[in-house]
Symmetry: C3
Subunit: 354 residues, 3 copies
């Protein structure tokens, strides 16, 4: 498939400067793209790559200056336009309907005839797999779990019993939905054999709403009672931990290695930076932004940006960081002040005496 630059511009609502008739055969990074490929330039850090690029056309935003002779496609959101164009060349893999003979489907499971089930996937009794869903090898859908239409479960994804995966959901390889939450009650007496941690039954479920994506080897624990919920359109990166009874609002972005402890509630469109942690039973309001590596230990009001561990408003964190980086200097200044003070005091005593 090829498209002219003009055709692509029309699809993404952009404007062409240069050769609109050029046929584009693919997309590529600035440094690799050839004369029949489209690339994009959005991060100033790569300005030199932009200037040197052999790309036939580059997607840029309105303010960007282009080198002479360079064909550009100008559009308000260059990254989004690039993504849409890239999708033309790399459409999502469609389901190839059918169940591979080496898959293991319980007679009490329901697989939609348009779904694809690859070898060595299992679907247990009472489970339902929707239209055009794809289960890769090693996927295990447990008893009474549901996988919605057009969802893709990559290799070795696990959906535990009774959990619900919505439509157009993507679960990357090794993601575990519905593992037991981490709940133990300390039992000082045990069953006559000394203290123990008594396991609290984790009898709730997980609901993954439509259009969610969850990364490789991430874990979303089932609720103790009730539901752990991942809101519509939220995107979760790899190796993220979502505790039992967490409620994540719609359209959140949760970057890799974040941990969200049990019963925390996050609003709409919350962005959580990599390796941040959120303590349990907190409320994090709509639109909150949490910096990477933050440790959030108190509620955060809607719209706030927080950083640090324990986290604080980002502006305060910046001020403190500035000071912190000079704490050693502060010590020196204090010592100097002390010396000056002692001299002054001595001088004053001398002055009085004289």
């Amino acid at each position: 498939v090829t498209f002219t630059v003009d055709e692509l511009a029309a699809r993404v609502g952009g404007e062409v400067s240069g050769d609109g008739a050029l046929r584009v055969a693919g997309v590529a990074p600035l440094e690799d793209a050839g004369p029949d490929e489209l690339s994009f330039f959005a991060n100033k850090k790569y300005r030199k790559d932009f200037e040197r690029s052999r790309a036939g056309v580059v997607v840029v935003e309105p303010g960007v200056e282009a080198p002479p002779g360079r064909t550009v496609l100008r559009v308000v959101n260059a990254y989004l336009a690039f993504a849409k164009i890239s999708t033309l060349f790399h459409p999502a893999r469609a389901a190839r309907p059918g169940v591979h003979p080496a898959a293991v489907i319980h007679p009490g499971a329901k697989i939609h005839p348009t779904a694809e089930v690859m070898p060595l996937a299992t679907v247990a009794a009472g489970a339902v797999v929707g239209a055009r869903a794809i289960l890769f090898p090693g996927v295990h859908v447990a008893e009474d779990a549901r996988v919605g239409e057009d969802s893709v479960l990559y290799e070795n994804v696990v959906v535990r019993e009774r959990c619900v995966v919505g439509r157009r959901v993507i679960l990357q390889a090794g993601c575990v939905v519905g593992g037991d939450g981490f709940g133990f009650a300390f039992d000082l007496e045990g069953a006559g054999e000394g203290p123990r941690h008594y396991k609290v039954p984790q009898s709730g479920i997980v609901v993954i709403e439509d259009d969610v994506e969850i990364g490789a080897n991430s874990c979303v624990d089932r609720a103790t009672l009730g539901t752990t919920r991942i809101g519509r359109g939220s995107k979760i990166d790899n190796l993220v931990q979502i505790g039992h009874n967490v409620e994540l609002g719609p359209l959140c972005i949760v970057v890799s290695q974040v941990g969200i402890a049990g019963s925390a509630r996050l609003g709409t469109g919350v962005v959580v930076g990599g390796q941040a942690g959120i303590v349990g039973h907190l409320d994090v309001g709509d639109g909150v932004r949490i910096a990477a590596k933050s440790g959030v230990m108190t509620d955060v009001a809607a719209g706030e940006t927080v950083s640090g561990s324990p986290s604080m408003p980002h502006s305060q964190w910046l001020r403190n960081q500035g000071a912190f980086a000079r704490v050693a200097d502060l010590r020196r200044e204090i010592r100097q002040l002390r010396r000056d003070m002692d001299e002054l005091a001595a001088a004053l005593r001398d002055g009085k005496r004289s």
Copy 2:
């Protein structure tokens, strides 16, 4: 199954205020529970939910004031009592004896006739699976490994060669027991091809003692030599890393995303908060509590509570945090002091001169 409130109280050693004859049909969170369900109230944050709840009966602790007309079951440890009652309604799934025809069992493996092996699990030569154990789909028990009685290995759990899993152990989905430890010796000369990291054979094993639970996608590395040991009754959350030759004492609690580096030794009942890290070759004493996100870089004596990275006694950390949050203010105060000092000094000079 239903139980009267009086029956439940008798089982957990509690006292009923209100309608002891009420029949309870299940457990539910405060906000969802109906008039034939039991809930519990232990976290003050949910006081309003407690007051509004339609639950037939609520488990509370002695000091808690109940709204008029509310039936409560008072007991010293409400969470433990709730957990025990919940278990009555949600007993652990029992093994359904037998090996599924789509499991792959080496003729040299021994599976107890009361164990359940689900489809697409493998048990290799010399491995032993004990009575009433359950292996979910995709579980792999490698050569000469052992899984004890009544243990449950969820989907895609891996137990590598020669490792030992005790009795009543629960391994959540994707947990890896006995992967190679991370050990390399820098070899400046390599094998005539320049420097390399020479792999140190990881020929030891992992022993998981009885009553341990390990979370989804957590990893416990096999020892370089000897044994990595997880002590009896310890509970480990998801995505935790336990390095080679670590010795974790009994009854520890290790929250999600913690990392414990090689050869660290933790005593009895240590609690490690989420995302904390413990450097290798350290000793952490009995009953130590490590705050979330701490970085423990030195030995910790029994009974201490530590926080921060690098970690320090919690009381010191609190003092420092208080001061830290005001570091920017400290800078301002120091500048003001300097100005005042300079004025004073000038005044003193003037005084002397006059």
Copy 3:
């Protein structure tokens, strides 16, 4: 197999003090080793174990004083020598050529006849598995992916479509190579249904060069476009996240739970301590050392050692830590200065007045 101490010394270029004719039957830790076993002593912390050890011979470095009567093998790099000797007793498991009947191999896949494919592994159309490679149960090699000669993929490893795994690579259980990178463009208008995060196609690949090892449940994301690259001989621990388009140089060491965000470039021989995080689009030079738990948010020049979050040169971090641990004391000193200053000022006023 046994070796005399003299034979072992010859193989590792060491010198024997004591009984060079002693036959060694294995290796063991200092506290477990018996009179026919070799151990090693490199960490001073274990001096007492060294002195008490019943080991027949202990590998030590030149400066180390040995107790009288103790046979030692002296060599410049004791750990490396120990590793090489341990390999004699614990050679890597060789492939047992053949494909198990319960593996699922697409007719369009190419498996070298000397490779070993265990039960319940899958190899998809167009994929290639090289000579003497070993695929453990549950490994999935997707379409057009390649696994090089002598590589070992442990249980449940996933190599996604078109990714390339080099020679002598070791992927520990549950490792995911080539999952989709985390790339979304915010689309305010969506497809007429309100805002959404539009998925950017992740159409690139991952290349794992020769002699790399990657730990259990670690994730290396495929590139958005182009290649995510893990350089020759680099070693990556468990639960590590490598984002899309990262370029990791050769001979790096990346400890457990590290996260490296998209498009970061690390040079040769970089060492990244556990739980550290590296922001995307950064350059980290050759030989850089990053302390555990650091948050690297700016480029790091070759040869530097950095610590802290945000990270800074290690020497500066140490100074600040020293001061930081005394921040509370600084506050007290400042208050005392203020009091002294006010007294002085009062005294001066009095002096003038008098």
